[in-house]
């Protein structure tokens, strides 16, 4: 047996036949016994019937002409746009602007990474001062003995020459710089500097 609240919740489902057989039985039983719910059910049925009997509002006589004119105007506007020659920002689809912005951002990022500012903090350390015989130097380069140390190199470490054989080497001008172990290492570093230039 359902209560009044449940009955009211099922009124529409009953009217629209969206109710199960068992629920229908319970609903009808409650309606037969409850005067309030019966009155409400009849009132809703009457209102619904009034809605269904409302006269249909129809379009005006000029509706089809107006619609035709609007469609023709729209079609002509599209033809004019497609025939437009020359560059126009209006003809560029909006997603192209997004792609262009992303492309420009990638280029700027690439340029920044490749620039001297960007490469300073990368893996290759700057060459260390060392007095070594150098057979060939590129024009514009100082001899290794006079290569100055960058001030804020990440790879600086404090070293002092412990080996007497290292006495020929120039001591580092900056505290904490390590000596290259051999000529090959120095040459590799010089090549790196050249590449950077």
């Amino acid at each position: 047996m359902i209560n009044c609240y449940q009955c009211q919740e099922q009124i529409s489902a009953y009217i629209d036949q969206e109710i199960s057989y068992q629920q229908r039985g319970e609903f009808e039983q409650h309606i037969a016994q409850c005067a309030n719910c019966r009155a409400q059910f009849q009132s809703i049925q009457a209102a619904r019937q009034c809605l269904r009997e409302l006269p249909e509002v129809q379009v005006s006589d000029q509706f089809f002409n107006h619609l035709q004119q609007r469609i023709l105007a729209d079609r002509n506007a599209r033809i004019r746009r497609s025939q437009q020659t020359g560059f126009s920002f209006n003809r560029i689809p909006s997603f192209v602007y997004g792609f262009a912005a992303a492309f420009v951002a990638v280029i700027i990022g690439f340029v920044l990474i490749q620039s001297p500012l960007g490469t300073q903090n990368l893996t290759v350390p700057a060459p260390v001062v060392q007095k070594q015989p150098v057979t060939k130097t590129a024009p514009g380069y100082d001899s290794p003995a006079t290569v100055s140390q960058p001030q804020n190199s990440r790879y600086a470490s404090s070293t002092t020459p412990s080996d007497p054989a290292d006495s020929n080497r120039t001591s580092p001008t900056q505290p904490g710089r390590s000596h290259p172990d051999n000529l090959e290492d120095l040459q590799q570093r010089i090549k790196t500097v050249k590449n950077q230039r």
Binding site: Q8, E9, I11, S12, A13, D16, E18, Q40, S43, I44, A46, A47, R48, Q49, C50, L51, R52, E53, L54, P55, E56, V57, Q58, V59, S60, F63, F64, H66, L67, R70, I71, D74
Partner: protein, 196 residues
């Protein structure tokens, strides 16, 4: 003619077949769709916004959108669902603009002006007695319903659409639609009692 009888008219070609022909380039198919749906959509739009001119603009805009975006329709849903969804969205936009306009003008009035009654948008020819309630009473009662109740009850009881179709049009689950229709009917009959 009562609105519900027109909806049951049987056509030789289904709406989906007609729209398919229109998508293939047959302009006569578009005219057929306009003929089938113009009055139905006009009835729905009018009952929603209660202004004849605005309702006709809504229906024109709907058909213009159908014309421009015919290829956007896919036969996943019924054509009627698609076209009613367009109309419902346009009608809601009109109501929102109307509300914002009223707020704008109302806020500019001084306190002495705020007694003014807003003009009724009802342009129906006059009262017609429908059983115990006149058309004007029913219109007023519908207008007092919240938007989502109004949509549900117009689509169900005036346009005679199924619960499933209404669910697809308003984008709400079936249970929610059933609940809205029930509550809309309860509220409507209360409003009509007060207006009598």
């Amino acid at each position: 003619m009562p609105s519900t009888t027109q909806n049951k008219t049987k056509y030789k070609l289904s709406d989906e077949e007609v729209i398919r022909r229109f998508q293939a380039g047959d302009e006569a198919a578009f005219e057929e769709l306009v003929h089938r749906y113009s009055n139905r959509l006009m009835n729905f739009a009018y009952r929603f916004v209660l202004d004849r001119q605005e309702a006709e603009d809504i229906v024109q805009d709907t058909f213009l959108k159908v014309y421009q975006n015919r290829h956007a329709y896919r036969e996943i849903a019924k054509f009627s669902t698609w076209i009613y969804t367009i109309t419902a969205n346009l009608a809601k936009t009109i109501l929102r603009k109307r509300r914002n306009r009223k707020l704008f003008y109302f806020s500019r009035l001084g306190p002495e002006d705020r007694e003014v009654d807003f003009p009724s948008h009802d342009t129906s020819p006059g009262e017609r007695v429908e059983g115990q309630f006149s058309e004007q009473m029913i219109q007023k009662a519908i207008q007092k319903l919240p938007e989502h109740f109004r949509t549900a009850i117009i689509l169900r009881d005036i346009q005679d659409l199924s619960y499933e179709e209404i669910s697809n049009i308003v984008g709400a689950p079936l249970g929610t639609v059933k609940s809205r229709i029930n509550r809309a009917r309860l509220r409507l009959q209360e409003e009509l009692k007060q207006l009598r």
